[in-house]
């Protein structure tokens, strides 16, 4: 199964408390994520499959898989649009 992960080059991020702050040098963008966004970001930083990402959301927030999949899809679409995702 395809693995998804964050771009390695020109992307720095740090966890600060519950929040992730990231610097995308290519897009000259500075990003902040909290809550489930931060959870998903950390998973992608270590590389994960689609199934693993959705499962993590289901287990962390106790939601049904269909909704989790929709939410993950929206989140990954945003990352992809910004060129932050590789697979």
């Amino acid at each position: 199964m395809k693995t998804l992960s964050l771009r390695q080059q020109d992307l720095d991020w740090r966890q600060i408390g519950d929040e992730i702050v990231a610097l995308d040098a290519r897009g000259a963008a500075y990003l902040g994520l909290r809550g489930s966004g931060a959870v998903l970001w950390r998973l992608l930083a270590d590389s994960a499959t689609w199934d693993e990402i959705v499962t993590a959301l289901v287990e962390t927030y106790e939601i049904d898989r269909t909704r989790a999949a929709e939410d993950v899809g929206r989140f990954l679409a945003i990352l992809n649009e910004r060129g932050l995702l590789v697979s």
């Binding site: 020109d10 720095d12 740090r14 966890q15 600060i16 408390g17 702050v21 610097l23 995308d24 040098a25 290519r26 897009g27 000259a28 963008a29 500075y30 990003l31 902040g32 994520l33 909290r34 809550g35 489930s36 966004g37 931060a38 959301l57 927030y61 106790e62 939601i63 909704r67 939410d71 929206r74 989140f75 945003i78 990352l79 910004r82």
Partner: protein
């Protein structure tokens, strides 16, 4: 339906909507963390990991000491690092890897090299503090003993302790003079927030690092600073270069000021020679459209001769202004 699960679902919906990526302009700070701070932390960690040393100047250090709990936080648009000579190569390597390049040339008397790359804040790599005449190695050795850790973007970074920061604030004010409102604001805040005991230590540090004239001139830019200088027993100084900087004199007047302040005939001749025949890289910047030969033989000497009288008048004026203010 399980009300708890329903509530959690709504929370997740709200979270997901709120947790979508927020894009901010590079210079706009997060409420507590800015892009500049994050870059500073990342660079500092990499430099340290490769065995180098650095001290973060200004930025978060000034913000936390002089602007803490303030509704108008101090914003920085670049990262300033003080680096010992032994770590310059490590720092250059880290910056190169991140796509930075050293921009421009360093004129005599410059104390920093600016590194730039598109999409990230610039990084000024200092080997000393402007206004201190001691050799950079001695400056580093002294300031290294005045380090303190500071939490910046969630990580610990070395910055200057309060006495060394006070010294920096004062000499920085001299460097940029009246034209830059922010350096004067930094100075005014430092005068309110830093006590006399720490200013005394700053004075001794200035003396040790041969920067007392720049320190004194900086303090005397504002009334509270003049009062402090009196309390600390620092008389007004008659330094041409400190006056030229404080009054934002032209480059020509500053060169003349260096000649005036130079100690000994050979030092003065060195500056005169630099003024007439600067290094090739500097000439290329100053005369980009001229063949170097023509620039060196004709244009530069002619320019020096023609502009020296005006520069002398300007220097006389700024020295008088500084004396009057003191």
């Amino acid at each position: 339906m399980d009300r708890c699960k329903s509530t959690r679902r709504a929370d997740v919906d709200r979270e997901m909507r709120a947790a979508h990526l927020r894009t901010r302009a590079m210079q706009a700070p997060m409420p507590c963390i800015s892009a500049v701070d994050l870059v500073a932390r990342v660079l500092f960690e990499e430099i340290t990991a490769e065995g180098g040393e650095a001290i973060l100047l200004k930025g978060a250090s000034f913000a936390s000491t002089l602007y803490e709990d303030d509704e108008a936080p101090r914003l920085s648009v670049d990262v300033d690092l003080l680096v010992p000579a032994g770590a310059l190569e490590v720092v250059a390597s880290v910056l190169h890897r991140r796509g930075y390049f050293a921009s421009g040339s360093r004129a005599r008397g410059d104390h920093a090299t600016t590194w730039r790359r598109e999409g990230l804040p610039a990084v000024d790599v200092h080997d000393t503090l402007g206004g201190l005449r001691a050799p950079p190695e001695r400056v580093w050795k002294a300031l290294r003993k005045h380090r303190r850790p500071l939490q910046v973007a969630g990580g610990s970074i070395s910055t200057l302790d309060v006495p060394a920061l006070a010294l920096h604030v004062a000499v920085h004010a001299t460097q940029h003079g009246q034209a830059t409102g922010r350096t004067i604001t930094d100075l005014q805040r430092a005068l309110v927030r830093i006590d006399d005991a720490d200013w005394c230590l700053a004075r001794e540090l200035a003396r040790d690092l041969d920067g007392l004239d720049s320190f004194a001139t900086g303090l005397r830019l504002v009334p509270a600073g003049r009062e402090l200088a009196e309390r600390l027993g620092i008389p007004p100084v008659d330094s041409a270069i400190a006056a030229a900087r404080a009054e934002n004199a032209s480059g020509r007047a500053r060169l003349l000021a260096h000649v005036s302040d130079a100690r000994g005939l050979s030092a003065r001749l060195w500056w005169i020679r630099w003024a007439i025949v600067p290094p090739r890289v500097v000439m290329r910047e100053w005369y980009p459209d001229q063949p170097l030969g023509t620039a060196y033989i004709v244009r530069r000497p002619l320019r020096v001769v023609m502009r020296t009288p005006r520069a002398m008048r300007e220097l006389k004026r700024v020295r008088r202004a500084t004396r009057d203010r003191a």
